[in-house]
Amino acid sequence: MNAAQSSGVFGLGPTGLVVLAVIVLAAAGFVLARARAMASAGGDARRLHSLPNYYGYNAAMMIAVPALGVLVIWLLAQPALVQNAVLDLIPQRAIAEGSSINLVMSDVRRLAEGLDVAVAAGALSADEAADIVATGTDIRAVLGNVGVALGSDVDPEILAAAQEYRSLSRLWSWVMVAVVLSLALAGMAIALRSARAGFRARNAVERGVLWLLILAASLAILTTVGIVLSMLFETVNFFSLHPWQDFFLGTTWAPNFRGNSELSILPLLWGTLYIAFIALVVAVPIGLFAAIYLSEYAGPRLRSVAKPLLEILAGIPTIVYGLFALLTVGPALVTLFGRGEEGLLGLTWMTGATSVLTAGLVMGIMLIPFVSSLSDDIINAVPQSLRDGSFGLGATHSETIRQVVLPAALPGIVGAVLLAASRAIGETMIVVLGAGAIAKISANPLEAMTTITTRIVSQLTGDTDFASPETLVAFALGLTLFVLTLGLNVLALYIVRTYREQYE
């Protein structure tokens, strides 16, 4: 991808140029194929099998789709190929104590990019950059002049690897351009040859479009596979560096970037579930009663005002709730439960604004519309005949709701609560700002605790080293979170689905 950053025409690298070229070729192919087909029919569109434009579309698709498809695959594969080739050049001793292949590779990449920048800025000529030897020119000074700061002096082996990286990247980029362009031209040739009156262009185009649609639909699967694989690999790495017993069964979370960390998920899981529990205690009764009132009692006017207003709460970004927790709810709780004599109740139970209760309360507010609109739909789906039967037996409205409507809607409501729980467990910004950073297992809701999502953010932001268990643990946490929320979602969908079948 470095090629994409180096300047070219319009600031595009070879990748951008080749995309542009393919698009131009496709447009040209459209015009030419259409004209050819018309000519073969003697200018009479009625003698063509398909409408004239389909011949053009066919050509454009034949040119663009294989070429761009190969381009995307190429871009995905090239970094790994180049890296493997360069790795052979780096001797074991260049990988310093406490360092790793990944770190050395990132040095190599930075150096290669620096050389590219230097060439672009004119500090080095292209030949100089290719022949530069660490002993000859002071590469660090040269790159420093063009604004690329290197951490330490450059090892000759690393420099050689960087040169190799540059030349391989460039070579592969040009090979890519050649392959993609020849594919496009081949597609153009085939499409133009077949652009004759008897050719069933529409059928060909529609088959192609169908495949594109299928491709788009399978992207969802690809995303899931990507999520699982990206986390699985790093998690396996993590467990090779850190015992799994400690991760799942230990009781202390104490990351230490000098090694010897205790990385156990239990305190984080406790914080996560505790906060989610408080959030549900707030959101479920309020959301459920709001839904009952809106669907059973409220007139159309109140309903048309209150429902959208409540749903605004769901549309507010979570960062806003996070700030609200940190700066409004947290200090308000401290005034209530802390500060001793100065506080409202004269208590000293709470010291900081961040706590389980702060995050839980705010998250509960966020989840109110989630619970209420889901339950609203479910209550509305309960057939009117059930209510009528209950009224006919003399039950009051509330008795009908409690003893007939709610039991009938119960599976759906349980599903809604499970979905809300999955939201609460995966929520990040509110807990990052409102819950605190202390990992502990305690029952006091006024203490700061930390959650899985908070720790993922803190282990993966800033300077990260993807060879240390302290960073890799984030992927194990992420995978646990994914499995947890996935389980809740599947369970909720299953319950909702079974329930729906009862009345249809």
Binding site: F10, G11, P79, R109, E206, L213, I214, A216, A217, S218, L219, A220, T223, T224, G226, I227, S230, M231, E234, G287, F289, A290, I292, Y293, Y297, A306, L309, L310, I312, L313, G315, I316, P317, T318, I319, V320, G322, L323, F324, L326, L327, P369, T396, H397, E399, S422, R423, G426, T428, M429, V432, T453, V457, L460, T461, F475, G478, F482, T485, L486
Partner: protein
């Protein structure tokens, strides 16, 4: 009914009457009233929370849109700023901002000498301390842009430091600064004199909307502009990728997919992806786009790709709903006059479903615009993008921030002046979200068809 009761039991008083409630009925009716009250209370709590939230945002955030400015006439002596005297900007660049700093103190001295009633025994350096740290740089940029101003006295408008600004907005008081090294009571007295004299005032600050973020020490100079550009480029990526892919996937699933287990897997997959926590998408972005593909860190392109994957399920679900709402008779009619299946979908069903698709897309974009968590993992916080990008390629590939990430950054800095800016940033973000959602609602009202 009453007649019958009278006739049947004229002598004995009735044990129960419809006119008089017995204890059991009263209890049941009370339970009814209570139940209803719970419902009303629940709605009221929800609405009160909304009101508190909005009032907090507006109350705390509007301050960020005004800023305290100090007007000051500064003499620009050529002998210190351009020692060689040849007015060559390259030569003059050697004088750093430190060289310009004393000029501010001298300007205050000159002002006191010139203005009666403004006497203060404050050290002139301390006086200059009420200006923003960016004031010397502002002077330097002005001089370097046009060296001919040397040896003249020019009136400048400087930002006041964040403490003085806080004093003007009521955030800082003489009591609250007892432990504060950045400002003293004497300086606040001097500020009061400047207000009376008219050279210090609080007014609307466009830089907050258009400017870039500033370092920790200069909250008064920080703005949202550059991160807005970052968000814009991310939304551009999301729109160009998520809309076509989402619509294509929905068309396949709704119109062409055979009912088999593969289709089932895809559908279950999409509904699950919609509920995957956003931070997981951030991990995916970090692992795939940055660690594997080596796309630049902090680039809006990467943010856009991550948000695309996150928004796709939303767009697919709403697009499928609007495709489903187009009645089968439209398809049958198209097929009946000889259109192919593909033609009936693309020529007839899709245009009729377009308003619904557009509405869903705008709502999906609004969601993506407010999302923060995945951006933290791909590095869109923690640095200062000082210049807006100058081309589309640099807008996509150069490190930048995004609106919600910028707000988070300010919230983390633990300075009341930055908190105010975070709330102000939220107002800007909410303005965008409200606009987008309003457009979506209007589109739906205007074009929605009931079949």
């Amino acid at each position: 009914m009453t007649d019958m009761t009278n006739a049947a039991a004229p002598a004995a008083a009735p044990k129960s009457s419809l006119l008089q409630q017995d204890a059991r009925t009263r209890r049941r009716n009370a339970a009814e009233t209570r139940f209803k009250a719970y419902g009303i209370a629940a709605i009221a709590v929800g609405l009160v929370m909304l009101a508190i939230l909005l009032v907090t945002i507006v109350g705390r955030g509007t301050g960020a849109f005004t800023q305290t400015f100090i007007t000051l006439e500064v003499a620009l002596p050529a002998d210190t700023l351009d020692k060689k005297g040849n007015r060559d900007p390259e030569e003059m660049k050697k004088v750093s901002t430190f060289g310009y700093k004393p000029l501010l103190a001298q300007a205050f001295e000159a002002k006191i000498a010139a203005t009666g009633g403004l006497d203060s025994d404050l050290d002139p350096k301390k006086m200059a301390g009420i200006l923003s740290d960016s004031a010397p740089a502002q002077l330097r940029d002005f001089v370097l842009a046009d060296p001919s101003v040397l040896d003249r006295t020019v009136a400048f408008e400087f930002l006041a430091s964040s403490r003085v600004d806080g004093y003007m907005k009521g955030r800082v008081s003489r009591d609250s600064i007892a432990q504060d090294k950045n400002i003293s009571v004497e300086q606040l007295d001097f500020v009061d004199k400047l207000i009376a004299e008219g050279s210090l005032e609080k007014r609307f600050n466009l830089d907050f909307i258009t400017g870039s973020d500033a370092s920790d020490a200069r909250p008064e100079a920080a703005g949202m502009g550059v991160s807005m550009v970052g968000s814009f480029f991310m939304m551009l990526v999301v729109l160009t990728l998520a809309l076509p892919i989402g619509v294509a996937a929905s068309i396949y699933l709704e119109e062409f997919a055979p009912k088999n287990w593969i289709t089932d897997v895809i559908e279950v997959n999409i509904s699950n992806l919609a509920a995957v926590p956003s931070i997981v998408f951030g991990i995916l972005g970090l692992a795939v786009f940055i660690n594997y593909m080596h796309l630049p860190n902090s680039a809006p392109l990467v943010g856009g790709l991550v948000l695309t994957l996150m928004t796709l399920p939303t767009i697919i679900i709403s697009t499928r709903a609007s495709l489903k709402s187009v009645p089968p008779s439209i398809r049958d009619a198209a097929l009946g006059v000889g259109a192919s299946k593909m033609q009936s979908v693309f020529h007839h069903v899709l245009p009729l479903a377009a308003p619904g698709i557009l509405t869903g897309t705008i709502i999906g974009l609004a969601q993506a615009l407010g999302e923060t968590a995945p951006l933290l993992l791909i590095g869109m916080v923690g640095f200062i993008a000082s210049n807006p990008p100058d081309s589309i390629a640099s807008g996509l590939l150069d490190p930048n921030s995004a609106m919600p990430a910028q707000i988070y950054e300010w919230a983390k800095r633990a300075d009341p002046a930055f908190y105010e800016r975070a709330w102000g940033g939220i107002i800007i973000l909410l303005v965008f979200l409200v606009t987008m959602n309003t457009i979506a609602v209007l589109l739906r009202r205007r074009f929605e068809r009931r079949w």
